[in-house]
């Protein structure tokens, strides 16, 4: 076990542990009936938002490209997956869910990945804020096109209620959602800790130096677009199966921004734990604030501003240092580094 743990990055192990913990908690709450109605409705959204946040973090935090089109990829996945599920359920009424739901997720993800690559190629030409606009524009185009496609329900929406007939949807969907999210998280974290992940981060840190190291920057950019879109698509399929009616107008840039907020608050970069926690908290927050009725979105927006000011204002760096547990983290990192260095020296001596 120790050997296994040393092989996978400790932070990734912690992320996985937290994920498993969250899902176990959800499952227990649902099984025992301890979950309130309100909480029940939050569970599946929390799982797909985790997936959305992780995949957007791959794009924004690891590749370093700002995308405002994540909701667009999500909608492609949602419509593809749900269309497929509806077809399968209609034509093969006896088909069990553990067959058609994974198929729908895979196909939804693949279709979204295709769109990701299609959007990623022209996006190579632009960067920074311009890229944000190009992705936002693509997202709006996808939205407009879907509204005008009659076989996807047009402006009325696409009826997905019959896919999961169960009344206790959250409990039915949770195992699939949990499985999909955990597998996706493992895949994404594995990628980040590999040669390819390092190449992607190199592109983020210094594109010119990455090129000079022989890294095919364009290839990696398009690849990340595709990969991130794939997982957004899978999340979209979950969204669609949890909902009763798909309306393409919900997948607008505001949704992309919501996901972006999670990624930024969670702390961008190779560590996915922040995205996971931020996704859970930010999904729950508007619901928790529901007691404040009319004031809840007002409080939400004030909190967002205050959190951003507190976490990123350069003037508050000193206070942050004192309040946070950074000094513990630093001490631990230092010890780990020292231990590793010692080991490295030892092996070197042995070689001599």
């Amino acid at each position: 076990m120790k050997k296994f743990l040393s092989k996978i990055n400790r932070r990734d192990a912690l992320t996985l542990l937290v994920l498993v913990g969250i899902f176990a908690f959800f499952f227990i709450m649902l099984q025992t009936g301890a979950a309130s109605h309100q909480f029940k409705n939050m569970i599946i959204p929390m799982t797909y938002y985790i997936l959305l946040a992780i995949s957007l973090n791959l794009m924004v935090g690891v590749l370093g490209e700002l995308s405002l089109g994540h909701a667009g990829f999500m909608s492609v996945g949602a419509y593809t997956g749900c269309f497929l599920s509806v077809m399968l359920v209609e034509h093969f009424p006896d088909l069990p869910m553990f067959v058609y739901l994974p198929v729908a997720m895979l196909c939804g993800g693949l279709m979204a990945a295709l769109f990701g690559v299609i959007i990623g190629i022209p996006a190579l030409r632009v960067k920074g804020d311009y890229l944000a606009i190009v992705t936002l524009a693509f997202c709006e185009i996808i939205k407009t096109v879907i509204i005008n496609l009659d076989f996807l329900g047009g402006a009325i929406g696409f009826d997905t209620d019959k896919i999961v007939p169960d009344r206790n949807k959250a409990l039915t969907l949770l195992p699939y959602a949990a499985f999909a999210v955990i597998v996706s998280a493992i895949l994404i974290m594995n990628l980040v800790r590999s040669k390819h992940g390092r190449a992607i981060m190199a592109v983020r840190d210094n594109r010119i130096a990455a090129e000079a190291c022989g890294i095919n920057v364009n290839f990696y950019k398009v690849a990340v677009f595709g990969i991130a879109a794939f997982f957004a698509g899978v999340a979209g399929v979950l969204y669609g199966h949890n909902d009763v009616l798909l309306k393409s107008s919900t997948f607008d840039f505001n949704m992309s921004i919501e996901i972006l907020i999670m990624v930024v608050l969670g702390g961008m970069g190779s560590n996915m734990l922040g995205s996971v926690i931020a996704a859970v908290v930010m999904t729950a927050l508007p619901e928790i604030l529901r007691d404040f009725s009319d004031y809840r979105m007002l409080i939400y927006s004030v909190m967002l501003i205050v959190i951003m000011l507190f976490t990123s204002a350069p003037a508050l760096a000193g206070i942050r240092e004192r309040l946070s547990l950074n000094f513990i983290k630093d001490a631990v990192t230092k010890r780990i580094a020292a231990a590793k260095a010692k080991k490295a020296n030892k092996t070197k001596e042995e070689q001599k």
Partner: protein
């Protein structure tokens, strides 16, 4: 032919509104190097200010416009001071998220104060008479003439301000190089505040034009024109003032043309599609500066 000319005139009118808003985006971007996502909502605030002074408090129309201009200008400065100034030097993405937070805040304040139902923004007395051009069958509404005239006047004034005044020179200097400007004795903080004030004042005028063309307002009113104007700013090359004007007109005309000749439903898709093609061909917009990366 009549339809084409009429569509073009409507497009220019809509484009004027976009251009006024886009100027706010582009000036703030040029000087503070940030995307002020809340800018679209300043229009909404302006619209509600006009609505409250004229329709709720029954003040005369000119006072409504003046109060909107003053209120938006002050609001712009206050937002900058409270939300953006503390973040100067922070990663740009974090500033963007804060701006989104401000946008949510403005929308929700309006929602609390005025409710979610749409309201008629201006009284009927604000109608201008339509103008018929000879016997060509072309009718231009008074609102369109007012909007275009106001926009042209504001643009000329802005251009003069930027090019002829000391503050305008300071703004150009800060947008070129903040640190060098500071070393030359320019008060960078004040320059940024003035920029926000000007951008917000332009947005207040845009809200007047918007109200005259669309009549109804609600708390999310500023969102879509904001995004469109933002696209216009990017289209023209963000940071460039003539670019924002040009981009605004292009996007406005494009929108009206495609809804008149192609499809009303696909209008947004067409506008955004042209934007993408444009950015792929010219990655820094129509008039944006090409930046050569130094190796």
């Amino acid at each position: 032919m009549t339809l084409l000319i009429q569509t073009l005139i409507q497009g220019i009118s809509l484009g004027s509104i976009y251009a006024l808003i886009a100027l706010g985006y582009t000036m703030v971007y040029g000087i503070a190097k940030m995307l002020n996502f809340a800018h679209g909502d300043v229009i909404m605030v302006g619209a509600y200010t006009i609505y409250s002074t004229i329709l709720l408090a029954h003040f005369p129309g000119w006072l409504g416009v003046i109060s909107a201009v003053v209120f938006c200008g002050v609001l712009g400065v206050v937002i900058e001071f409270l939300a953006y100034k503390p973040l100067r030097g922070a990663p740009s993405l974090n500033v963007l998220i804060t701006a989104i937070g401000v946008s949510y805040l403005l929308q929700n304040m309006a929602l609390l104060l005025f409710g979610g139902n749409q309201k008629s923004m201006l009284p009927d007395s604000f109608d201008f008479p339509d103008v018929k051009i000879g016997n060509t069958g072309i009718t231009v509404t008074g609102e369109v003439i007012f909007t275009i005239t106001l926009t042209v006047v504001l643009m000329v004034a802005l251009t003069l301000f930027i090019n002829k005044t000391k503050m305008g020179k300071a703004m150009r200097a800060v947008s070129e190089d903040k640190d060098a400007a500071r070393l030359m004795g320019i008060n960078v903080n004040r320059t940024i505040s003035v920029t926000f004030a000007i951008g917000s004042i332009l947005a207040a005028f845009a809200s007047l034009c918007y109200g005259m063309s669309y009549a109804y307002i609600k708390p999310t009113t500023g969102s879509m024109p904001g995004i469109k104007a933002f696209t216009a700013a990017v289209f023209g090359g963000i940071g460039s003032i003539p670019g924002a004007m040009l981009g605004g007109f292009v996007i406005g005309i494009l929108e009206k043309l495609s809804s008149a000749y192609i499809s009303t439903q696909f209008t947004d898709a067409i506008v955004f599609g042209v934007l993408i093609v444009m950015l792929v061909v010219r990655p820094t917009g129509l008039l944006g500066k090409k930046i050569r990366e130094k190796v």
